[in-house]
């Protein structure tokens, strides 16, 4: 996979990161190295191996449909950067 400075810019924008020009250049070369290192795995023939869907060999960990008390709103809103009117306050979202 080819890693260019545009790849870095795209990934950074998806992650809401703003990078300086020199950081972009450094990360391009870092990511190139990482990807080519991992790409070594492609040399193996995995066509007959079932994909591992999950790292833990367990299934169906489920809970019954029972309602328990929710948290006190003040406790929940303690985590808000800003709050008021019983809600989290975020910068104006325009649709």
């Amino acid at each position: 996979m080819e890693i260019t400075i545009e790849t870095i810019e795209h990934v950074a924008s998806l992650a809401r990161l703003s990078l300086k020009e020199d950081e972009k250049i450094r990360l391009t070369s870092d990511l190139k190295n990482i990807i080519s290192y991992v790409e070594k795995l492609n040399e193996l023939d995995t066509s007959n191996i079932k994909p591992m869907e999950h790292v833990i060999p367990m299934k169906n960990v489920l809970r019954e449909d029972i309602v328990n008390a929710s948290y006190d709103r003040n406790e929940i809103l303690k985590n808000a950067h800003e709050s008021g009117e019983g809600g989290f306050k975020v910068p104006k979202v325009v649709e």
């Binding site: 795209h10 998806l14 809401r16 869907e53 999950h54 790292v55 833990i56 367990m58 299934k59 169906n60 960990v61 489920l62 809970r63 019954e64 449909d65 029972i66 309602v67 328990n68 929710s70 948290y71 709103r73 929940i76 809103l77 985590n79 800003e82 008021g84 009117e85 019983g86 809600g87 989290f88 306050k89 975020v90 910068p91 104006k92 979202v93 649709e95």
Partner: protein, 476 residues
Amino acid sequence: MDYEVVIGLEVHAELATRSKIYCSCTTEFGGEPNTHCCPICTGMPGVLPVLNKKVVEYAVKAGLATNCNIASFSKQDRKNYFYPDLPKAFQTSQYDLPLCFGGAIEIDVNGVKKSIGLTRIHIEEDAGKLIHDAWADGTLVDYNRCGVPLIEIVSEPDLRSADEVKAYFEKLKSILEYIEVSDCKMQEGSLRADVNLSVRKRGQREFGTRTEMKNLNSIKAIVRAVEAETKRQIEELEYGGTIIQETRRWDDNKGESYAMRSKEEAHDYRYFPEPDLLPIVVGEEWLSQIKAEIPELPDQRKSRYVEKFELPEYDAAVLTSSKIIADYFEAAAAVNSNVKAISNWIMGDLMRAINEKEIEFSNIPVAPEDLAGLIGLIDKGTITGKAAKKVFDIMFETGKKPMDVVKEEGLEAVNDEAAILLAVKEAISNNPKSVEDYKAGKKQAIGFLVGQIMKATKGKAQPQTVNELLVKELEK
């Protein structure tokens, strides 16, 4: 130029579980903002979500009722995007291994039957609600709805008109109501649709470029949006333009849509397996347990009404289109075997009264047994069909029993021949012109005389007796 429209629907239905999908907070609609929340549904670090068993069962039920295959192995994935209604910055959904896939439901548009394919049904969590008018300089976020379980039902691009879209959506809604996995209240957002639509020249094999329309919260809005978007795309192409693949938001007040975001800035969701949740394996035993809970579905119920009650296909289709109506009909049919009359009353006077008063079918003030009782009174000749309409209106206003209304209003039919004969004689002597016409061979003049007699008896005289006596008197 002749164009064909190609439409696929993505329908989101909130599941009717008591608790949320990954925590035990209530799913109840409304409530003060952020009072149905806990660290799990507000996305605090370090919490461990656990899947609600009912969510799997309801989704599988929906899959079975729409002829889907049920995956024996299914998993959940993270769909990553930043938006304040999603505190974790990802939505837990399903990507490549959905719970149900490859289904179909049959629709009927003006007697033409068609099978619409279902690509898949997967489970996911709902997002919170953004309230824009709380402050001028900010948006209020309420996470009560966050983590309410959803199923997303994705159709194949098999729909070809607004009528087909309407029929498909109504059928789907009806099935979900029958199997009781969602309350399907569109006004509360329990059922929502996104429409994917493209147009192509008739005969062309490839699909045109499609747009996705969001924010469709009523059946009327869906139909209007489909019609408007079809027209917009055809006009664009006719004037030499091109369709841009984009997401559009429907404004039902204005009756038009506008672009929200184009493909270039569309989300790149970077799905990956959810490490905190384990695979879902629906084995034979669990599957057959869920299968056993599937009730009679709309189409089966419709066939039963045609066979058992010998109702016309049309009546059966209308009555079974909604489970509440069908249940109402059967409750009435259990106490009165005149099923055709019950059907007529439900489709006629009852539906009219509901539409006029704008009430939900579930809140009808007339109990089904009372409607059956009213019909019984007509059949026994206690009241006339004409008086019954009046009795019904009063029952609908007050919720009173039919016989009580009849007594209070003095609407018992007059079967007293002497009394009716008196009215007949009076009508004859008061209307010599009509009598003359009748005798001169204009048999239809009798209608006017009958009307006069019914008026004089306040609609309470049995029409049959009136007719007999009137003819007898006239022929004298």
